[in-house]
């Protein structure tokens, strides 16, 4: 991999040992990829909040030691300088406000708070969400980024035309210190063309519709495809595309898709394929939708719902308001829980809008910074969850050994209020 003079200097220690270690990681990584060079980036989203899971492995290390090991893969403990690039913390293990709801012990809380302070002191913006684009990090078309979090990667690549691969903790840690990332994969125009044509022959309009479509497409495309949707007749919004991409990125490894006329890089199906023929042609109609719905509901038999989870990916204020309005005059069932997840910056607004209080008054909780899948926590004794998120219902049963129902937001709120799932095949 070619290095510029500036990059060589960083590697040789001109900006200190930590920057040198970061460059070393990027060089090793870039060479495995077969990248010809690095590219500048000033937009890095990573995950650097460490709790006991990480510290126990390294024997309660200092924060510098944790970052050196886990975020830089450095051979020894280094003093980490303030980060160079504009850097953002993605989702983490703990809700700094409702950590006790998670059942976390005080010591764990304190450890993660200290980890947060370390990140803050180093200039990593504490968005603490899987949806950085909902809290001010809205990349522009063509902007080279280095992000973790597959649902966020697929959103900014597809909808905004930004350029990022699915990075990991170590590569984003290194990018934060250097402002560099391997110029490979989706950073190159030629790798961004469609591969799979999906002819959509059934209406796709609601959040549920978009989640089902995304889930089915991910299963078809798996890790090696860029789907192109043909036949979408209504304009989706951020929430619909957020659910679509998250679903496709979790059932498969979709990192980029095109919806001609909607997403950033394709005005037409032909343009999405850059004039080439699709490698694969797929059709999504009522049968496929029915099958996706059944698979998403495939782990569930018991209609008695213990937890309803809304906000995967993290919810907008509009989604929160929808829940508040659906809950009006009602209360969460004594045997159920309703957890709504949103970025902390938006919870701040939700509190001022009275939404947080309204949820609380109804027996629900507005949570931030984490989610049940990432933090691996559920209310005690949970056996059955329900959600309007294809991604969450895909992960939670596998990770937490519970049953999962999938449906509309209204069906989810009804389940939280009645304690019983009554969702129906659309």
């Amino acid at each position: 991999m070619r290095l510029t003079d500036g990059e060589r200097a960083m590697l040789d220690g001109a900006d200190g040992e930590a920057v040198a270690a970061a460059m070393d990681l990027l060089v090793r990584y870039g060479e495995v990829l077969g990248a010809e060079r690095l590219v500048d980036t000033d937009n890095v989203c990573g995950a650097n909040l460490f709790g006991s899971r990480h510290s126990l492995v390294c024997g309660s290390p200092t924060p510098d030691a944790a970052f050196s090991e886990h975020s830089l893969d450095a051979p020894r403990v280094l003093t980490i300088p303030p980060v160079r690039a504009q850097s953002y913390q993605l989702i983490g293990p703990m809700d700094t406000k409702h950590w006790q709801v998670q059942g976390l012990p005080q010591a764990e809380h304190d450890e993660i708070v200290a980890s947060e302070k370390y990140s803050a002191d180093h200039g990593i913006h504490l968005m603490n969400t899987c949806t950085p684009y909902q809290v001010g990090n809205v990349p522009v078309r063509g902007e080279h980024c280095a992000w973790m979090e597959s649902s966020a990667v697929v959103y900014v690549n597809s909808v905004l035309g930004a350029r990022t691969n699915v990075e990991g903790r170590e590569s984003t840690g290194a990018a934060m210190l250097t402002g560099k990332i391997p110029y490979w994969g989706l950073h190159l125009e030629e790798n961004r063309h469609g591969t799979h044509l999906v002819e959509v022959t059934t209406p796709v309009q609601s959040n549920r519709d978009w989640g089902l479509l995304g889930y089915w497409i991910g299963e078809q495309v798996q890790e090696e495809g860029i789907p192109v949707l043909d036949g979408i007749t209504t304009t989706p919004d951020l929430v619909r595309l957020k659910h679509f991409g998250a679903a496709a990125a979790s059932s498969g490894g979709v990192e980029l898709y095109h919806v001609p006329g909607i997403t950033a890089e394709a005005r037409s199906v032909e343009e999405a394929f850059a004039g080439a023929a699709p490698r694969v042609r797929l059709r999504y109609g009522p049968d496929e939708r029915r099958a996706a719905y059944e698979r998403l509901n495939g782990t569930a038999t018991d209609t008695s719902v213990d937890l309803v989870m809304i906000g995967c990916p993290h919810a907008t204020l509009g989604q929160i308001r929808d829940v508040v309005r659906l809950l009006e005059g009602r209360r969460v069932h004594p045997d159920s829980e309703l957890w709504v997840f949103t970025p902390r910056a938006l919870r701040h607004i939700a509190e001022q809008n009275g939404y947080a209080q309204a949820l609380e008054d109804a027996g629900a909780v507005l949570m931030s910074d984490t989610c049940p899948a990432i933090g691996q926590f559920l209310p005690k004794g949970t056996r059955v969850i329900a959600t309007d998120s294809a991604k969450q219902v895909h992960y939670l049963p596998a990770i937490m050994n519970v049953q999962g129902w999938f449906g509309t937001l209204a069906e989810c709120v009804d389940a939280a209020v009645t304690g019983t799932w009554q969702g129906v095949q659309p």
Partner: protein, 140 residues
């Protein structure tokens, strides 16, 4: 019994390691797919569910799943349950970063389909400096 077979490809990370092959034609998930204490595959639908790659040579298509893939194998290394080496066929950022932070020899871009040649239990010598995988089939 046939003699050793040599597959040649692109060596990554560097170094030499030997061990029993653990072969799967299904990509492996990191976060939610393996647990790093014993290096076991825990993804319920995976054909290798319950099996451990610790000290083995993992022969697989590559990485799938979330961006936490490298972190999970990194942790596996720290906990002493990492594979001895990795042989894979599909490059992506997850597997690339994963092999880098696991610090084990790896080979890809092989001149033959490894899944046609290697069976679980075969003894593999993975030479990432020369980009070679030497396969000594287990007696059958």
């Amino acid at each position: 019994m046939s003699g050793p077979v040599v597959l040649t490809g692109r060596g990554l990370v560097g170094g030499i390691a030997e061990g029993e092959a653990l072969v799967t034609r299904e990509a492996v998930s990191g976060w939610g797919g393996v647990e790093p204490r014993r290096g076991r595959i825990i993804e319920s639908r995976h054909e290798l569910v319950g099996q451990s790659f610790a000290g083995k040579v993992l022969v697989f298509p590559g990485a799938k799943g979330s961006s936490g893939w490298s972190g999970m194998f990194h942790m596996s290394r720290l906990m002493g349950s990492a594979p001895a080496a990795m042989v894979f066929t599909t490059m992506n950022t997850k597997i690339a970063l994963g092999v880098v932070v696991t610090h084990v020899p790896a080979v890809t871009d092989l001149d033959r389909d490894p899944f046609a040649v290697i069976r679980t239990g075969d003894w593999l010598r993975v030479d990432a400096d020369r980009g070679q995988v030497i396969v000594t089939p287990r007696s059958r």
